[in-house]
Each structure stands twice: as structure tokens, then as C-alpha cells.
Symmetry: C2
Subunit: 239 residues, 2 copies
């Protein structure tokens, strides 16, 4: 179940259609999602005695086009292009919400450090620039807590010095633009709104910081169908 | 519910008995846990229709001596000394496991960046050195995934340059010594063993990296009473 740097590059180029590297040319580590370690770990919890049947049903129906999956007892790993990851995460949140059970969805996003403990890429590889995917609304409300970690140790190729608070401010400004920002609490930013917009906020912050920083992780915890949400409704613009 | 840098320093000194600062002397930001932003956010999920009653019961009985608490719909914040935090986290995991329901416990640990988005401390404050608390075993098995983030931007006061992978290697070596290390997976380290030892592994890694790095966060997700654990038993040494 462990991807070595060697065996991840091969399937990656077939997953996103990247051009194969010419013989003798060093592969560009940013060219393929799996070569750059782009992926997510997901832990879904459904508060019902019937959780096993509910979760297995949802996960078996999830559209994993363009993604690799490894299932574990603590979380499920998905690897592949950022646009595919966002699509599957929003689908999953919507499916969980439609069960009408109270559910939590914890997501870890990572890019820029493929391999296991050891980054298979040297520092200074990348960054990998990709378009921020468009949000998709689900009609389902989520409240969430979000943390974003630019793990920069060194000056980037363009001379930019690491400054993780600068990058986090920029991502939070973007969350304000998306209308999901609700405030800052200890260690996290609170997001609320359509579950699709909330997930898109986290993905876009992760990608925008990733334009200048190689290794960026982000943690998002969503609460769906919480009893404390009963008094809330999605605004007209999110229906 | 928001702690400003001003109002956290006052209760902190009463919580851990730190000596009050003399008039005119700048307070030492490492002297008190809340002044240094030491705390955790916790999301517990219990896979039963009766989850609300179960969780409210467990949380109302939790010993919060020495800690401040703020309850939210996504997570609960606990702030205070690292030893108190570890005690409460282990108590909580044990109580969740004793329900015999499948449960997940997601924990975010943070220190060195009090306040909200803006660190109320300047870079270069600290580090704060504290003793690593002794583990307490619970007799309950947990599998877990763990991530550790030394968020260092700058050279420490002793001249040490930031190198987050070096710090993570050291923490993983310590997990091997504790016997909870099971391997490295994408983006996380897998831990298994007594729930108390698993939590103590994450807390000790967080504190040991915190001896040289001001701002350190760590994310730990525990799985308790998983159906996939049924074939496992705790070894004799953990009973």
C-alpha cells in the first residue's frame, strides 16, 4: 500500500494525461499530481447505529474518476489532480448530508511532499501552479474549521522568503470573497455556508499558497446536519 | 468567545501558578500556557443514534482541572498546561472507548501562536520548554494517524535554522521508542497501541519539537472500537 517515488510517477502520467518525459531528461516533479504528492486523507463519521452500511454505500458509489484510492481503518487516501479531488470531496459531503444523519468529515490535503516520511522531492522542487477549480453548490449547509500550513523552509526560486502568516492572510482574504469566512478562533478559521463552497474555500486556499510554496497541507473538519444547525437556513443565493 | 492576547495572560497565571510579572517588566510569553497559546481542539464522533446523550455525558464528566474550555458545533477548544491537556485527552479517549461504540477522536494541538489569525506573539518568542508528561495506559486499543507541523520561519535564538523534516524524524524516532510507531503512509504516521500511549506519542512529539521551534501544531485522528480491530488484542505489556 506504500507508494514509492518510483511507482507513483508512472500511473500519474496516465491519470492526468501528462506528456511522457523524453529519454535522458529529468522528469518535472510538478508535471503529474502523484509525482508531486497531490492528495487527501478523509475520515467520515456518521452518527447512527447503521454507520457501516451507510458509509460503505456512500463510498462505493463515489465517482473516483482520475483518482487513486487506498482504504484504511482510520482514513481513506485519495491521490490525483486537484480538480478531481475537489469534485470527490464535494460529492462525498453532499452524500453524507443527504443521509440526514449528523455527520463529520475530516479532510487532510497535501501537495509538494510525495513519498512517506521522507519527501521524495528535494526542497525547491516546484511550486506546481494549477487553476483553482470552480465551486459546485450542493444545497446543503456545513459549518467547518480550517487550518492551512505552508511548510516552507527555504527561499523559493523567485527569491520569495518563507512567511507562513502572509500566505494564510491571503487565503483568509479569499475566503471572505467567497462568503464562507465567519471568523478566526483558536488555531482555526471558521467557515460556514453551502458544503460545496466550504470545501472549495479550503481547496483554493491550499492551491493559492501552493503557487509560491512547495509543501502545503490543510486540515478541514466539516459538521453536517448538526442539531445546532436546525435554526439556520442557507441563504437564497446558495439554494 | 474570542481570547485576545490581553485577557489570556491574566487567567493563565492563575491556572498554572506562574509568578506575576513585576511592574514595568515585560511579561515572559512562555511563562504561562495560555500566554503561549497552548491548547487543543477536539472533535469526537460516536457512531450511534444515541450520540448526543453519549457525548454530552462524557464531556460533562471530563476532568478539566487546570484547563479552560469553549464548546462549539465543530470542535471543543481546551487551553492550558500541556500535562493537563494530555490527561484530559487520554481520559476522553478512554471514556469514548468504554461506550463500546465505534468512535473517532480528532485532535489538533497547537502552541506558540496565541491569538486568532494573527499570532499575538512576535516571531522568536520562546521556545517554551516543558517536561514531557508520563503516559497513562487505558487498556483500550486505538489505531491512529498523526501529522506534526513545526511552523518555523526563522532562525532560532540559538542559531538553529528551521528544518521541519529534521524535527519530524526526531519525533518519529521517539514514537518507535514508545512502541506505537507502525509505519509511514501518505501525509501521516500510523500509530497503534494503547490509546493512552498513542496520545502520549503525539503530545511528546509536539513538545520535543517545541523545544527548538516556537509555533508547532499536530493533528491526531484516533479510531476506537473499529470493526476492523476485532481481530486485534493489546499485548500483555499494555493490559
Amino acid at each position: 500500500m506504500i507508494h514509492s517515488p518510483v511507482d507513483t510517477t508512472a500511473p500519474a502520467s496516465t491519470l492526468d494525461g501528462a506528456a511522457p518525459t523524453s529519454p535522458g531528461q529529468a522528469p518535472d516533479p510538478t508535471a503529474t499530481p502523484l509525482g508531486f504528492g497531490v492528495g487527501a486523507r478523509i475520515t467520515a463519521a456518521v452518527m447512527t447505529d447503521d454507520y457501516a452500511r451507510v458509509l460503505i454505500g456512500i463510498l462505493s458509489r463515489l465517482d473516483l474518476t482520475g483518482l487513486v484510492r487506498e482504504t484504511g481503518d482510520v482514513s481513506t487516501y485519495l491521490g490525483g489532480h486537484e480538480t478531481h479531488l475537489q469534485r470527490s470531496l464535494i460529492d462525498l459531503a453532499e452524500d453524507l448530508a443527504r443521509t440526514e444523519h449528523h455527520a463529520t468529515l475530516s479532510v487532510t490535503l497535501s501537495r509538494g511532499c510525495p513519498g512517506e516520511v521522507t519527501c521524495a522531492l528535494p526542497g525547491g522542487a516546484g511550486p506546481r501552479g494549477v487553476e483553482v477549480p470552480e465551486p459546485r453548490r450542493t444545497g446543503r449547509f456545513a459549518s467547518a474549521e480550517w487550518a492551512l500550513y505552508p511548510l516552507a523552509d527555504q527561499v523559493a526560486a523567485d527569491g520569495t522568503a518563507p512567511d507562513h502568516m502572509r500566505d494564510i492572510y491571503a487565503a483568509i482574504d479569499h475566503a471572505r470573497e467567497l462568503g464562507t469566512f465567519r471568523g478566526s478562533e483558536h488555531f482555526v478559521t471558521r467557515l460556514e455556508g453551502d458544503a460545496g463552497d466550504v470545501i472549495a474555500t479550503a481547496v483554493s486556499g491550499w492551491l493559492q499558497v501552493g503557487r509560491s510554496v512547495q509543501h502545503v497541507t490543510s486540515h478541514l473538519t466539516l459538521s453536517l446536519n448538526s442539531p445546532s444547525h436546525e435554526a439556520r437556513e442557507l441563504g437564497e443565493e446558495t439554494r
